[in-house]
């Protein structure tokens, strides 16, 4: 269920577009609803968003599956979104992702046993100058090394 608070937030975005173009707010709506539902979406929520914005359900699903920032399976409290595109890859992102997987005993796309962290490979986040890099919450972590990763993981509680 989408809470009234979230609906208010969605309305804020809907108002930014001309009347009859409510569907333009679909990305914000998905983001707001995903945040409320602990970082992931379900079919029911997608249906509800479609109903709220007056869109066909499949059209919402198209958007929700196109963009990497929407999750369709439950995620940990923190999602480590690790870039694996060209600049980061040339600077060793593959090794760092393997290191992360070993250390947390998870595979990409899974949640760690304590439910705290999940790892996701994502496309370029626009911080190539600081590659290899990852995003946790709203924070970018750049020029990553194994040591830096240990430090970051230590701070996640």
């Amino acid at each position: 269920m989408i809470s009234d608070q979230s609906k208010k937030e969605i309305d804020f975005w809907v108002k930014k577009y001309p009347e009859g173009r409510e569907s333009s707010a679909v990305m914000q709506a998905l983001t707001i609803v995903q945040k409320e539902n602990n970082g992931s979406l379900t079919n029911e929520l997608i249906k509800e968003i479609a109903g709220y914005l007056g869109m066909p359900v499949i059209s919402v699903q198209e958007v929700a599956t196109f963009y990497e920032n929407y999750n369709h399976k439950p995620v940990g409290k923190y999602v480590i979104r690790f870039c694996h595109n060209i600049s980061c890859m040339l600077n060793g992102s593959d090794d760092l992702i393997s290191y992360l997987e070993e250390k947390l005993e998870v595979k990409t796309g899974e949640i760690s046993k304590n439910g705290l962290v999940s790892v996701k490979k994502v496309e370029c986040l626009g911080a190539c100058v600081g590659g290899p890099m990852c995003q946790i919450g709203d924070q970018y972590y750049e020029h990553l090394t194994t040591k830096k990763i240990d430090e970051i993981l230590g701070n996640l509680k």
Binding site: N43, I46, K47, P56, V57, I58, S59, Q61, E62, T65, F66
Partner: protein
């Protein structure tokens, strides 16, 4: 306006501003390969197969999305164009499986054809091909999404033509997929067209799966006669069986589309209850006999049971052919009887066909306002609804006066609810409002009528529109005061300069009207035949359980001991077996030649696609032989086209002097309206298995409003004449709307 001159493959041609290169190439007979482009759908330009070289352009351009310009020089076959097309082809084949030998599309596949022309023998790619898991999208369409090339024709078809967005393109890049949101199955009544638009074997016909290879089949031009449109089709046959039905282009009739009912009903031809040999009932035991014995038995039975001609009655299904209607009425009138009728499901038989349509199918697209009265148009006449939808896309508005708010695939401005018994007073109010607004003399019978905002709005919309149409649908048939409704509608149309589309005469009813298949000169109509002194019946393709407004009255009459019933029927259903004394096996749809008269009044003839199974015979031949055996003159036909010629040349004058009834007493009693779901509309459709498994085929609800439910002491899930009750606030007060595949009860 032709205002652009340019060159294509060295040929100087003219075009209009905004025409795409591909449309002109098609017109000029120049072959440009394409997958995503479809003349009836929007341009997506995502397959890139139609790349052509335009002089002065550094890169090849897609012909589908590039408009022509003055002085352009286009080359579709030079090296640059060919190289570009070959490169795209190679990309498309990276992931497309090489399973043509087991693919139903093989032999009629656009990808296969284009790969023959543009594909390379060797691919540079050695990587494994991707495999896409299937969700399954219902009983009609088989999915093999591994074969999909993501042209999005099916997605655009859903959004632009069917009006229900069900398929979508999810994921991205390597993971992109065409799929519906959930696996509930496709809901559209036009979904089968996705099979036709799919250029590869991703969407194929499920009932046709592995039935035959496309090149083994014969394609025969035919006409679908389930609805008023008479969609043009090809029946594809293999070894004497209809294996598939596909659409045939006819811009003024069905464009390139056909409804699912027209496409999949052929399955009923092979149903196990087909009547294969003549049968007679002796001492309550059925025995298979030869045609001679059965016909003798029928003729002597008819003669013995009928002391005077007026005791003989003939009833025919509205789906019979023009030839069958003509010969049957000729036979009956030769007999000296006027007791003929096809209006089996009509409650009010008092008037002649006083409401003729004054608009054509193609003109329906250019209306700017429609008032739909008593119709679930989307399911009743899918192709006519599609024309209205096209009109709404270019700005037309639609109001409805219906028993329930229905699920249309376009927006309705004003949905007015009206129980059948209140439709007359509703229309009277609209008429009064029109009189007041046009300042014309108010007829006396409207002096006490009250009007309110709703009626004024309906009247306003009709007056304001330049090109309005009033559409009358099937629900009117079971309305006991339908002659008043019809009268009021013609008054309203006259006053508001609206055209009329009368869709209540569906199937091949217009053929019956053309040959006068209705009692004249004091003959009995269907109700008086059933409740009167008729001793012998000749039934043409009639199912006593489904076809009559009161199936109880019909079955009780036919089951009487002293009533002799000859049934020409394609199926041996329980009810047919119990009510008939002779069953003469009848050729079904596509097994007999015939003629259908469509909404535009066009008589479309078709030949038999296959011969009928067993000993069954075409209806017109059976009637001809019966007439010969009864000793009547004038039945020397050797070909159905001779019958059609005769039928179309006779002139039946129809009395058109019906008057609007003045005094209408409003009935406060709760009424029930029974509508069969579209896939239960005729015998062959009811026997088509795949159609019955779809969402539309499973429609089975008795809708009733909360208040009326309390009055009738019904609660959610109770059975109302065998149909589960659904309490719903979108139904008019004071009535029960039964929408079901089940046969009529009571």
């Amino acid at each position: 306006m032709v205002d652009i001159e340019f060159e294509i493959d060295g040929k100087l041609v003219n075009a209009n501003q905004g025409d795409s290169i591909i449309s002109i190439a098609d017109r000029e007979g120049i072959d440009v390969p394409r997958f995503c482009y479809h003349k009836k759908l929007s341009v997506a330009a995502n397959c890139r197969m139609c790349l052509v070289d335009i002089e002065g352009n550094p890169k090849a351009q897609p012909a589908c999305s590039t408009p022509v310009a003055n002085g352009m020089k286009i080359y579709t076959k030079n090296d640059k164009a060919k190289n570009a097309q070959k490169a795209v082809m190679e990309f498309l084949l990276i992931n497309h499986p090489l399973d043509c030998p087991i693919c139903d599309q093989g032999g009629e596949c656009e990808l296969q054809d284009v790969a023959m022309d543009y594909g390379s023998d060797v691919s540079k790619f050695n990587e494994g091909k991707r495999i896409v898991a299937d969700k399954g999208i219902g009983a009609l369409i088989q999915t093999d999404m591994t074969r999909c090339i993501h042209c999005t024709r099916c997605v655009r078809f859903g959004a632009e033509v069917a009006g229900i967005v069900e398929m979508g393109l999810t994921g991205r890049g390597e993971d992109v997929k065409i799929e519906p949101f959930l696996t509930e199955g496709i809901q559209s009544e036009l979904s089968g067209n996705m099979i036709d638009v799919c250029p590869v074997g991703a969407l194929t016909s499920k009932p046709f799966r592995y039935e035959a290879r496309t090149w083994q089949m014969n394609a025969i031009q035919s006409i679908a006669r389930h609805d008023l449109v008479g969609s043009n089709i090809y029946t594809q046959t293999y070894r004497g069986k209809v294996k598939r039905v596909v659409a045939r282009d006819n811009e003024v009739v069905n464009e390139t589309w056909i409804s699912d009912r027209d496409r999949f009903s052929y399955e009923g031809l092979n149903h196990e209850s087909r009547s294969l040999s003549p049968k007679i009932k002796k001492n309550n035991e059925w025995q298979d006999v030869s045609w001679e014995v059965a016909l003798d038995f029928a003729v002597s039975g008819l003669k013995e049971n009928t002391q005077m001609p007026s005791q003989f009655g003939v009833l025919a299904s509205k789906h019979s052919t023009l030839e069958e209607f003509y010969l049957l009425q000729k036979l009956t009138r030769s007999f000296g009887s006027e007791n003929i009728d096809y209006r089996l499901d009509k409650a009010d038989l008092s008037i002649d066909n006083s409401l003729s349509s004054t608009i054509t199918l193609a003109e329906l697209e250019s209306i700017d306002h429609a008032l739909i009265v008593n119709s679930y148009l989307r399911l009743e006449q899918p192709m006519i609804n599609h024309r209205i939808r096209k009109a709404t896309l270019s700005g037309a508005s639609v109001n409805t006066i219906n028993i329930k708010k229905f699920d249309f695939n376009y927006g309705i401005s004003l949905e007015v609810l009206s129980a059948p018994q209140r439709t007359v007073s509703m229309l009277q109010s609209v008429l009064k409002s029109l009189h007041e607004k046009t300042r014309t003399t108010l007829p006396k019978y409207l002096s006490k009528t009250k009007t309110d905002v709703t009626h004024n709005k309906i009247a306003d919309d009709l007056i304001a529109a330049e090109n309005p149409v009033i559409i009358l649908g099937e629900h009117i048939n079971s309305n006991p005061s339908s002659s008043n409704v019809v009268g009021l509608i013609s008054e309203i149309a006259a006053l508001s300069n609206a055209k009329i589309a009368n869709l209540s005469l569906t199937g091949n009813s217009l053929s019956a009207e053309r040959v006068g298949f209705k009692p004249a000169n004091g003959g009995s109509d269907v109700t008086s035949m059933l409740s009167g002194d008729t001793k012998s019946f000749l039934l043409m393709d009639v199912d006593p359980n489904y076809d009559f407004i009161s199936s109880k009255l019909a079955t009780d009459t036919f089951n009487k001991k002293n009533v002799f019933v000859v049934s020409l029927n394609s199926f041996e259903d329980e009810q047919t077996l119990s009510s008939a004394d002779v069953i003469l096996p009848l050729a079904c749809f596509y097994e007999s030649s015939g003629t259908h008269i469509n909404f535009d009044g066009v008589a479309q003839s078709f030949s038999a696609s296959v011969s009928s199974p067993g000993d069954s015979k075409p209806g017109w031949k059976i009637i001809k032989v019966l007439a010969d055996l009864l000793g009547f003159e004038g039945f020397d036909y050797t070909d159905s086209s001779q019958v059609a010629d005769d039928a179309l040349s006779i002139d039946i004058t129809v009395d058109n002097n019906s008057e609007v009834n003045i005094e209408v007493s409003e009935d406060s009693q709760v009424t029930a309206h029974w509508q069969n779901s579209p896939y239960a509309s005729d015998a062959i459709t009811r026997k088509a298995k795949a159609l019955q498994e779809t969402q539309i085929g499973k429609i089975n609800d008795a809708f009733v409003s909360d208040l009326t439910a309390k009055e009738l002491k019904l609660s959610e899930g109770d059975l109302y004449h065998g149909v589960p009750v659904s309490i719903n606030d979108s139904v008019a007060e004071g009535c029960v709307f039964v929408h079901t595949y089940q046969s009529r009860q009571g």
